[in-house]
Each structure stands twice: as C-alpha cells, then as structure tokens.
Amino acid sequence: MYYPPRSKDWLAHKLLLFSSRSAAAVSASVLVLAIAVVTLESLPAIRDIGLWRMLSDESWHPSSDSFGLAPMLLGTVLVTVLAIVIAAPLAVVSAVFRQFYAPRALGGIYRRLIELLAGIPSVVFGLWGLTVLVPLISRIEPPGASLLAASLVLALMILPTIELISATALADVPHHHYLAARALGLSREQAVWKVVMPSAVSGICAGTILGVARAAGETMAVMMVAGNVVQFPDSVFAPVRTLSANIALEVAYAVDLHRASLFASGLIMIIMTLFAFCCAEAIAHSRKSYRVGRA
C-alpha cells in the first residue's frame, strides 16, 4: 500500500504499525520473562537438591532438608485425570446434544448457561465444594476433603471449557457431511457418531487438553476441598495436596532452598502444560491430512 510521505494517513499508518508491533512484543516477552524468572529462581534447588532427590525423597519437610515432591506431583496428576474422566464424556455428550438434538431456542439458552458456568470465579466453586460437597463425601467416608472432592469441583470447572470447544469443533464440521450421511440412509446417531465425530475429534481433543492445562494449574478451589495433606493417596477419599496448592500454601514464609524448590515445582507445572499442548498439536496434526486434502 502506498502512503504519500508525511500526510496524515502516513502518520496514522506508522502509529498503528508501531503500536501493534509493540503490543505483540510485550505479550511475547511477558511469557519469556515469566519462564526465565521461574527458571532462574528454581536454579538453586535444581543445583543443590537435584531433580532426582525432588522425585525420590521420602517426604516434604523443607526445614529438615527433605524435598520430596512426588506425592504432590502424583496428587496433581490424579486430581487432573479424575476430573477429566468425569468432565470430558459429560461435556462431549452435552455438546452433541446442543448441536444435533436440542431445538434451536433451547440450544441457545443452554449455550448461555454453559458460558455462565465458565464465568463463575473458582473461589465460588471452592466455597460450594467446601460447604456442600465435602460434608456429603464425609458422610460416606471421612474426612470428606479429599481427592474425590477436588476432582468433582475441578470437573465442574473444566466442563464448560471442554463443552464450548467441543461444540465449536462439531459446528465446524461442514453440514454437507452430515447431510451426505443422512442421504445414505444413516440415522441421526450414525451420522453424528460415525461421520461428524471423527472429523471433530481433533478439536475435541484440543478442548480436552486445554481443560487438562486448566485443571492441572487450578489452585484456589482445589486447595479449599482437597485436604492438602502431603501423602500418596490410598483411595479417592484420601486427602491430597497438589503442586499448585503447595505453592500457594507455603510461598508466604518460604526462604532459600524451600523457596527455590517451590519455584522448581512451578517449573515442573509449566513443563507439564507444555507437554499437554504438544500432545494436542500432535493429535491435531495427525488427523489433518484427511481433512484438508491435497496440499
């Protein structure tokens, strides 16, 4: 595009270019800086304790030189996996309902509800979990604050994320695939599950993995209902502590190696999230060739 020098348009163009470039640079550098700070701060822990001891130490007693993160790592993974196992099927089936079964008006209302669910602050979920869910679970098996409670609260929180992304993925599958399937005499169920679903799977996986990333990092609500005992849980009713809860609980008074090891656990969580994103990317890529056709 040609702009005559020094005109008003030219100035506006340059300003817009400059501001959009700076905005992009700021966003990108925030990520780089955040990772850099976390890495730098965790260096003493990695150097003096070592990753191996963090995974193999028997317990978590930073004051007596014991830095075992394994129970909390396992706690994080278990809470996350259980939450996904509960939420993903619900979310996917609900997305299918909304896209293919619900009357249009109901579908619209339903979508608003799901969006509202996504907007509820996590502390409110925690409050509900603490006052309603935990007492309920403690009636089955005390103390109530447990792996199960954390997973259920978390499942509720990630359900809208997975639902909304899955529904978008389903809506993105061209309608003519569905029509073609129906024209071949397939029922609505067959058309949805055999034709539309396989095309939407990569999008649904992406949604689920975003759910995983959110679940693994979610702190407040989980901390309120998980019990926060550092231990390997022996059942779903046992209290657990997650890595993120551990950071939130201890960072206020942690110094030296203790502090560094908290940063190290933050680094581990970043790496876990990155790994999840790579998986999502790989899944999306592996199915691409069937969707886009010739290059």
Partner: protein, 263 residues
Amino acid sequence: MAPLDVTSDSIFWRVNDLTVSYGKALALSSVSIDIRKTGVTAIIGPSGCGKSSFLCCLNRLSEMIPGCCVSGRIEIQRENILATRFDSTSLRRRVGLIFQKPNPFPMSIRRNLELPLREHGMRDSREVDSTITRCLTEVGLWSEVKDRLDAPALSLSGGQQQRLCIARALVLKPDALLMDEPCSALDPVSTAVVESLIQSLSKNYTIVMVTHNLRQARRLGSDVAFFWMRDGAGMLIEAGSSDQIFNSPRHELTQRYVLGQVA
C-alpha cells in the same frame, strides 16, 4: 400434467400435487409428474424455481431442512413415501443423492465406501471388499485408485471425488439416483467423464438430474421437466420427452427458455 404415455409399471415416482414451503414462503406449488424408471429425467429451469427442493422431496431429505413443509403425494410402487409411517431410512437406501459439490467424507477412499455398508449391517469383510471393487469399477475409478485406497478421499481431483460420491451411493444397491447439478463444480474434462458415467448408469438406474446446462439436458436427458418461477414460487410448466421439449414444446415459455430467449 402426466405427459408420458406409459403403463404404471414403468413409472418409478408418481408425484401428485406436491407443494413445498419454507416457513411462510412457498417454494414449489402443486407439482404433478410421473418419472419413468428408465433413462435420465433432466430438470431444467432458472435459479430459485424449486428444482433442488423438488429433488430433496424424492428421497425425503427435505425433512432435514429446518422449516421445510411438504404436502401432496409421492408414490413409489403405489406407496406414499411422504406418509410419516413410511421408513425414510430404507427410502434413502433405495434412492441415492449426489450433491452439487462433491462431498466425500474426510476419510480414506476405502472408508468412504465401507462406512455406509458397515452401518447398514454388512459384516463380512470379503463382501465389503468385493462391493467396493465393484462400485469403483462401475464409476471407472478402480484403475485410478486401486493402489491408494487408504489415501484421503479429499486428495482426489474434483471429478474423481464426484465419481467417488456416486460410487458411495451405489454401494447400497439403490434403484434410483438423484443428482443435483452433479457437474456444475467440475472442469470441462471431468464433466465429460461424469456425463458419460451418468449415461452408462442410466441403463441400470432411474436417474433424476437437476441441471442448469441446457446442452447437458439435451445430451443426457431422455425426459425433460421444465420448472419456472411465478410470484416467488416454483412450478412445473411442462414435462415430456427430451425430443418433444426441445423441438416442439407445447408451452411458449418453454420454447423461449430452451432457445435462450429468457434469462
């Protein structure tokens, strides 16, 4: 308006007073026509005259369109297929539909043909394989794709994709094929290939084809039905043998349309 001097045995669809509306808008008003079992019935007419709506009623895909309301009677072997108790699934197995734009599923070539067979209950893998081979041969694709059946269907050219879609309809052994402007998204070479395929298929299947291309209608159609739009609603003006419609139309509108004197 049943122009064809034929006994009822040679009729596939007997359409009587078919009216289609979308919400309050009338799309097709009171169409009556008999469609013969043999040959290609070409449906011609300007855009918006309800040709595609008509086609969608013949396999009841119209019920998939939100707000679409169909009344009248369409008989196949004296049964009204518009009756709610008529099983639309078995109807669509007997009447395949080819869309304007080739729309193979985003799966492998093999899976495109295997899916309808498996979903309609064919369990024997050898039977599935032999059906796939037979149908790909029938549409002339076998020699082109036999070495890459597991390649994505969308990697084929447009003409190949359209022939694959025809093969996908053929695996269910239909009696009839509906085609909605099957060549309009294809280049001239692919069009010629698909046209000659339609010609050869017309020996074994009842074919109803919507087309904007008058020369194509003349080349392929044994019967021709001319639709027109009046006051926003489509209607059938005249139907008859290709020879009669193109050479001695009864209706002045038809004459002017086939001579290209009205747009």
